[in-house]
């Protein structure tokens, strides 16, 4: 009885120790993974920052204005060009139809 108990206890102990070590090794592995990934994320973040700065620079209004003057046939919007959508004939007709 006593002896069997010790054997069982011993086996459990060995299993526990073995799995604990296994776990620890896995954790170490994951930690290393984490560190690599974190440094990759950091690098990505830095490139995103650079890209955002570049985007802001490339879309700055002075540059767009020069590009538009050189390559597009567009002029600056005047107030006459802005109106109510309701005043377009199409909409007026539609309204009239509804009222009928």
């Amino acid at each position: 009885m006593n002896r069997r108990f010790y054997i069982v206890f011993g086996i459990i102990l060995i299993v526990l120790v073995a799995s604990l070590f296994q776990l620890k090794h896995q954790v170490v592995k994951l930690e290393k993974n984490l560190v690599t990934n974190q440094s990759l994320i950091q690098k990505e973040k830095e490139s995103i920052k650079v890209l955002k700065a570049e985007w802001s620079y490339l879309t700055n209004p002075s540059r767009i204005e020069i590009l538009s003057e050189n390559f597009l046939n567009l002029r600056i919007l005047t107030l006459k060009q802005i109106g109510d959508i309701e005043k377009i004939p199409f909409f007026i007709e539609k309204k009239r139809d509804k009222n009928k």
């Binding site: 604990l20 070590f21 620890k24 170490v28 930690e31 984490l34 560190v35 974190q38 440094s39 950091q42 973040k45 830095e46 920052k49 650079v50 955002k52 700065a53 570049e54 985007w55 802001s56 620079y57 879309t59 700055n60 209004p61 002075s62 204005e65 600056i76 919007l77 005047t78 107030l79 006459k80 802005i82 109106g83 109510d84």
Partner: protein, 563 residues
């Protein structure tokens, strides 16, 4: 017997042997158990307790981020300032064999560096010299390609401003060691360094650009030495655009020239001239000194002690209050100020924030120049904007209060900022009544419709405003040749949303303006152009109701038939 003795001896020996081996066993067992316990403890320590090495590993990276300044964005999330990694080049001169060759090679690939200066650095005998800090990626690559031993790189963080010079006087600039040198960067230096949160500003990049562009065009057209402009939301004091010209590119020039670094919008205090008149009229209307139907005699120049007050556009007759306003009559204003009195004038100016330094979040904020002894003569000159010098920002704020129904506001550059918590009365307290505000609005509209500021009028928007032309003060008098013209515009007049204040420093008359250079010819059309461009961006619908103006005209401008 003998056998017994031998047995006894044997037994004794045996007993001794057993004792001895037992002692040895215990000793060995003891040593081993101590060793095993040590191993056991160490393994527990390693397995369970001692995992600091990993933590420090992973947290190392995020430290870099914490030391940087926060990013700055405009109100629609356009990036205005951020940090990027950048290499700095340094040298250990002792490792460099041919210093002359090395310096000429370096100079050939680095911008703005000459070979002689580099040579001087390399022969200085120090073990560490900076060659150039925060170089561009291209320069980094080229220096690397040269492969000179003793030339090394250090990773540094560089503050970049992608919008270049557009926000030079708002965001400001940052020094080589990441310390704020001007503008918001200096004023909020601690906050930008400590907090990780990015900062959102009230400015709008598109509006800012339109404002800067139009000011630039006018500045060139009238050959002015400088210009400034501010666009502000009249209801909450948010600054949508703030430009001072000439400006500088904070990416390249860390130390701009004095003229470029000087903010004409916030730091410079100027005598504004007639732009000040609405303040006096508002005070007189508010205190019921005058009504809109009253008027003053402006037939001939007025003599007050040793001064003679003249009109720029003399009508030489009796003028009603709206006429005094629209023709910008100094004679009429002087008499109004006399009736108003020093105290009441001072009280309103104080409440409008004219007498105190503005609290906007910039490091360059000018102190207004006000007379020490405020006597009647000061009060009279101040009524038409002389003898007092204030910043453009203060004028913009005062106009915003005049047209928003008299609500107090605080000009700010920070969007949704929680730092400013006004007390309960702040929003309830009115500087002037809604009624006075309405009358001032009408007078401002009248000036643009048929007064001195006709050139600011644009089809589509109801614009109101007031011009101001002032000679620049010099020692003991005024300079006839150099003037400052200003115009403060408000739109749309039926329900004011934005105030636009601009000034031109020393504009000159041109053929197109028949060589006139006063505000009506220079500053007013500039504001008209600005409003035409920024109105749609600010979501203000053109061609809306004009009922308000009809009511105003019918009620107050009935004297028209006299003309």
């Amino acid at each position: 017997m003998k056998k017994n003795i031998i047995e006894n001896i044997n037994k004794d020996n045996e007993k001794n042997l057993i004792d001895l081996s037992q002692v040895r066993l215990v000793v060995i067992f003891g040593i081993f158990s101590i060793l095993f316990i040590t191993l056991f403890i160490r393994s527990i320590d390693l397995i369970l307790l001692n995992d600091k090495s990993f933590n420090s590993f992973s947290s190392n990276n995020s430290n870099i981020d914490k030391k940087n300044r926060s990013d700055i964005f405009d109100r629609s999330n356009v990036l205005l300032a951020t940090n990027v990694k950048s290499a700095s080049i340094y040298a250990n001169p002792k490792e460099i064999i041919d210093k002359i060759e090395a310096s000429s090679k370096l100079a050939s690939v680095l911008n703005h560096q000459n070979s002689f200066d580099i040579q001087k650095k390399l022969t200085s005998g120090k073990p560490f010299v900076w060659i150039k800090r925060q170089v561009s990626p291209k320069e980094h690559f080229q220096v690397n390609k040269l492969g000179i031993p003793g030339i090394k790189f250090k990773q540094e963080v560089k503050r970049v401003f992608p919008q270049q010079s557009l926000f030079a006087h708002v965001v400001g600039s940052v020094g080589i060691d990441n310390q704020g040198l001007s503008g918001l960067e200096k004023k909020l230096n601690q906050r930008l360094l400590k907090s990780n949160k990015s900062v959102l500003l009230t400015v709008d990049t598109r509006v800012q650009h339109a404002l800067r562009r139009e000011l630039n065009l006018s500045m060139k057209k009238f050959d002015a030495i400088g210009a400034a402009g501010i666009i502000m939301d009249v209801d909450n004091g948010e600054i949508i655009g703030l430009v001072s010209l000439p400006d500088f590119n904070p990416n390249i020039k860390i130390k701009p020239s004095d003229d470029e670094a000087f903010s004409r919008a916030t730091l410079g205090s100027y005598e504004m001239g007639s732009t000040f008149k609405p303040f006096t009229v508002a005070a007189a209307l508010q205190n019921k000194i005058i009504t809109m139907k009253d008027g003053y005699d402006a037939t001939k120049p007025l003599k007050v002690s040793r001064f003679i007050i003249r009109d720029d556009h003399p009508k030489e007759r009796w003028l009603s209050v709206p006429e005094i306003f629209k023709y910008s009559s100094n004679i009429g204003m002087a008499q109004m100020a006399k009736d108003l009195g020093v105290d009441k004038q001072k009280e309103l100016l104080e409440k409008l924030g004219i007498l105190d330094r503005s609290k906007v979040e910039l490091s360059e904020v000018g102190k207004p120049l006000i007379p020490k002894n405020w006597r009647e003569i000061n009060s009279i000159t101040i009524s038409y904007g002389h003898g007092i010098a204030v910043s453009l920002l203060q004028v913009a704020k005062a106009y915003a209060i005049l047209v928003n129904g008299g609500k107090k506001i605080t000009p700010t550059l920070l969007l949704n900022d929680n730092n400013f918590i006004p007390d309960e009365n702040f929003y309830n307290e009115r500087v002037i009544s809604e009624d006075t505000s309405k009358k001032i609005r009408g007078l401002l509209r009248l000036t643009v419709k048929s007064g001195t500021a006709k050139k600011a009028d644009r089809l589509g928007y109801e614009i109101g405003g007031k011009t101001g032309t002032a000679e620049k003060p010099s020692r003991g008098g005024y300079q006839k040749d150099s003037i400052i013209t200003s115009f403060v515009g408000v739109f749309p007049m039926d329900m004011p949303r934005y105030v636009i204040a601009i000034m031109l420093d020393e504009p000159k008359g041109i053929k197109e303006t028949h060589f006139y250079r006063s505000a009506g010819w220079t500053a007013a059309p500039t504001v008209g152009n600005i409003i035409e461009r920024v109105g749609p961006l600010l979501d203000v619908m053109p061609n809306k109701t004009k009922n308000y103006w009809k009511n105003f005209e019918a009620t107050y401008i009935s004297v028209k038939s006299n003309e």
